[in-house]
Symmetry: C2
Subunit: 131 residues, 2 copies
């Protein structure tokens, strides 16, 4: 009988225990975020059906949307040919993935040698993160 965590063993975790995790919006196709998962974060993501990441700045598991309500409901989990990167197809609650209030964290586009903000702020961050 296959061990229930075999699929986690197949991931080629880096020395720091992490692999990059891309979240892509299932409806719009936009790439929303590039975050990181460790074994526990990926396990929780699959168990709960909501994206959990490893916060490198806070050194702890981070349930995306725990403060903002902008959780990511996971529709599918994919892994690449090298098994060292994962892709989450998600339903983005609130339509906002970025802490700046934008749909995607990838809102800066290179134009004539400069990074230019290319996407609108959909909601004031002060309204997203109430103290």
């Amino acid at each position: 009988m296959a061990n229930v965590t075999d699929w986690l063993d197949k991931v080629k975790w880096a020395e720091n225990g992490l692999v990059p995790a891309i979240a892509q919006d299932a409806a719009s196709g936009r790439v929303l975020t590039l975050a990181w998962v460790n074994r526990e974060a990926l396990a929780r993501t699959v168990e709960t059906g909501e994206a959990h990441y490893w916060s490198r700045s806070r050194s702890k598991i981070w349930h995306k949307g725990e403060e903002s309500g902008h959780v990511q409901k996971v529709k599918s989990v994919r892994i690449d040919c090298d098994e060292d990167a994962v892709l989450l197809e998600v339903e983005q609650r609130g339509g906002i993935a970025c802490h700046t209030g934008r749909e995607s964290c990838f809102f800066q586009r290179l134009e004539d040698g400069r990074w230019v903000s290319a996407d609108p702020v959909l909601k004031d961050p002060r309204e997203i993160y109430r103290s």
Copy 2:
């Protein structure tokens, strides 16, 4: 007058000099690859309009498609809010990004606790990489 490499200085390169680079197909919206760029690879990508990555296994710049012909024509370059990940919107020559002959490297999907190959092989790798 702005230095022409200011935009490269703004990238928050990791200690190993790299950041992850996602390639997304401009037409299909599929996430094709997660690779890595260093300063030189990203500069060459922008200069040439074709994706260049840093090969961690070979420790050298890798012009994607140099052997297979499956180059990635870059339509836009984006960076995320933390400035430590980039997103390339590409036109994938041959419609195949993966060395296995599939459209995307993310062809394995988690189903009932197992990674299952979910996408067809479009071309036999032996036909892609002729010796």
